[in-house]
Symmetry: C2
């Protein structure tokens, strides 16, 4: 009897496969956005759904030059294994921006990895994690496998309501607070300076670690720059990065290009040390070549790109806002972002933006329904619009179609 004659004793049905999965995998679900994006990817649909940077602005020539420089400078070392911490010149440059040493900087394979590994090293099952209402869906997805207990912080036009936060902290034993203070994903809102200071003071007093996710901070097109929570906390700590309760995460995805997957986390050494251990098990290190290429682009290309990108996104945001004024029905409220890639629309209670999406797609325009951005559900009448990856012509045509869809829905 050969091996192929032996009968398999397994019944290959869904119950079998489900029994093979970990308990955490059994509660994982596909990203709602991802599923929605699939139906909106037909080429004739104008999509304000994805959070994609504008590819026509990518610095192609500088990338080519960076690749050539890296191959000349490093040769085979650019293709070899490298350290888990990351390429030292890149970490040194990042450290200098905050006046901290490179050892407090850990390179990540995209800021999504930073969130995953922070979840892994910080969240035990049932730990209370405070999130904005609404919050970045990708963070919920990264943290979920570690089984947190989400508690939502109320927000308004200036971001997190810190008075409500204080009330929460008095009664809720929170482990972690996750926030996107600049041009938040999904709302485009920015946390005010006074609230930043209060938030740092409160989380320090209550011993709550803060993950500050700041992929868009450099892309401010109106108003003046605000210090990060990290900077405020570092100043409070007399400049000692190992006495800072805020973990800062940022990325080159929105300023240079996302396809290289290069981001970083800065934190106190006890956190960094655990992140290094977790990253060893997660992917050993971020691709060597990519880190070296990014490092070649920091002094000239990056500042130039930031100017180019924020000018373009500022114009596109302006145009989208103008179209809202022209085509959206009364009763549709929206945020006015000072930077970044997103704005947020709230329709009257009772309108369901998930149900409405198919009507919009019939009119060849797509958005992301807001509900998946709420950790605890709700927000059925909200939606996110991205202006970063649309031409002026697409914005005009798409927003008119969206206005028609909403006007019809509001009756």
């Amino acid at each position: 009897m050969t091996i192929t004659d032996m009968p398999s004793t397994t019944t290959w049905n869904a119950a079998y496969w489900n029994s093979r999965l970990s308990s955490r995998a059994q509660i994982m679900t596909a990203s709602a956005i991802r599923e929605i994006l699939k139906i909106t990817q037909e080429p004739d649909v104008i999509s304000f759904a994805g959070g994609l940077p504008a590819p026509e602005l990518f610095p192609l020539d500088a990338m080519k030059q960076a690749f050539t420089t890296v191959m000349e400078k490093y040769g085979p070392a650019a293709l070899q294994y490298s350290t888990t911490e990351g390429h030292l010149p890149l970490r040194e440059w990042i450290g200098r921006q905050s006046n901290i040493p490179p050892q407090n900087v850990q390179i990540m394979t995209g800021s999504q990895q930073g969130l995953d590994l922070l979840g892994k090293v910080l969240i035990s099952e049932g730990d209370v994690v405070l999130v904005e209402s609404p919050t970045y869906l990708g963070a919920l997805q990264s943290f979920q496998p570690y089984l947190p207990h989400y508690v939502e912080m109320p927000t308004d036009e200036q971001g997190i309501d810190v008075d409500a936060l204080e009330t929460l902290l008095k009664t809720t034993p929170a482990k972690l607070l996750y926030a996107v203070p600049n041009f938040q994903n999904p709302t485009g809102r920015t946390l005010s300076l006074e609230r930043r200071k209060r938030l740092v003071e409160l989380t320090d007093r209550y011993g709550v670690m803060v993950i500050e996710d700041d992929p868009y901070g450099k892309l401010r097109f109106t108003g003046s720059e605000l210090p990060s929570l990290y900077q405020i906390a570092l100043e409070r700590a007399g400049g000692d990065p190992d006495q800072v309760n805020v973990i800062y995460s940022s990325s080159f995805s929105k300023t240079l290009a996302p396809g290289l997957r290069d981001a970083w986390v800065q934190a106190a050494m006890p956190i960094i040390q655990k992140l290094i251990q977790a990253k060893q098990g997660a992917d050993l290190h971020t691709p060597t070549l990519n880190q070296m290429m990014i490092a070649e682009l920091l002094d000239d290309t990056l500042p130039r790109q930031i100017e180019i990108v924020k000018k373009a996104y500022g114009e596109r945001a302006q145009q989208m806002l103008a179209q809202i004024g022209q085509h959206f029905p009364e009763g549709a409220q929206h945020t006015v972002p000072q930077g970044g890639m997103f704005l947020w629309v709230t329709l009257p209670e009772g309108v369901n933006t998930t149900a409405l999406l198919s009507k919009a797609v019939e009119r060849k325009v797509a958005y992301v329904p807001g509900s998946p951005f709420y950790a605890l559900g709700g927000g059925e009448n909200t939606l996110r619009l991205s202006y970063s990856n649309a031409t002026p012509e697409q914005i005009e045509r798409g927003m008119r179609a969206l206005g028609e869809t909403f006007t019809e829905a509001l009756g």
Copy 2:
């Protein structure tokens, strides 16, 4: 009172930071190998410790050409976000090698990520995971955060002892079996054909999923190629990849270059679907540029590289084995690898290779003590030697020094 005047209420000591960590992070430890590598990285130490490919063999010119081709062919899309599943032409090529559709192939950011995400979606706390004794340390590190209960499978010169495995399976409710059948890391051993068939039959009968880790399979320099566990299981399943209990993991790190971090997992769709969800939260996707570059190298460069690399490693292995014969004391046993990068030395009981390492480093040569490769401890008298990243002159000089070290210790 300004914000910096407010006193911090936190005492920034080790207990504070430890209290911030998840329970899984509290039991994470730095890789023993990583700590050892640090002390062996002085430039005048000949290191047989790291598992590094030979960088002088990397296909630099082909990489440069691949980059140019990718930029011409895809332009900005090479730098944009891409799908979680991975670059379709790459997945199609991989699928064709096993006669399975691309949907059963998931691209990973290095095979370490494959192990992490498989741990995440398969291992619940306390699940029994069967591992070889000894096994690949990196797998232990990837799985550990998911809190498995490791059970060791006895091994001999032909790899896993399948009779002992059958006895184990009768009494142990195992969830998962992890194995490196070809030129195992750390021992260099290869699982025989008969045992492969028995292993597939047994794990099918007892409903145990198998993770087959095969980064070195293409690097066979003596003997004839054996079918993978995956191929055997696929044949048993009549070619239906969705009725296969074996999950296959491999990589381009050892054949093309590790610094790009490009690897893959092939598995049944219910597993792939969960891996996609887990990967969304882990790093969204593997860097676009890197996948596209690898895809350009598959038809010409990859087969040529495989020939170049296995010829070089075969010569180095031969040379290291000859030096063992010449310089090692009697009582030092060793494996004879048919491929890959490693061989394994067993000194007489009572010799402690961890303690001996400092003596070796005094003689300017380094290895990895074997103990960390045992999930449950032991193996204090064993060590791993890598021949892939050493010149003939280094092998001669280093092995003589190692022989002296061991002769002194035994004698």
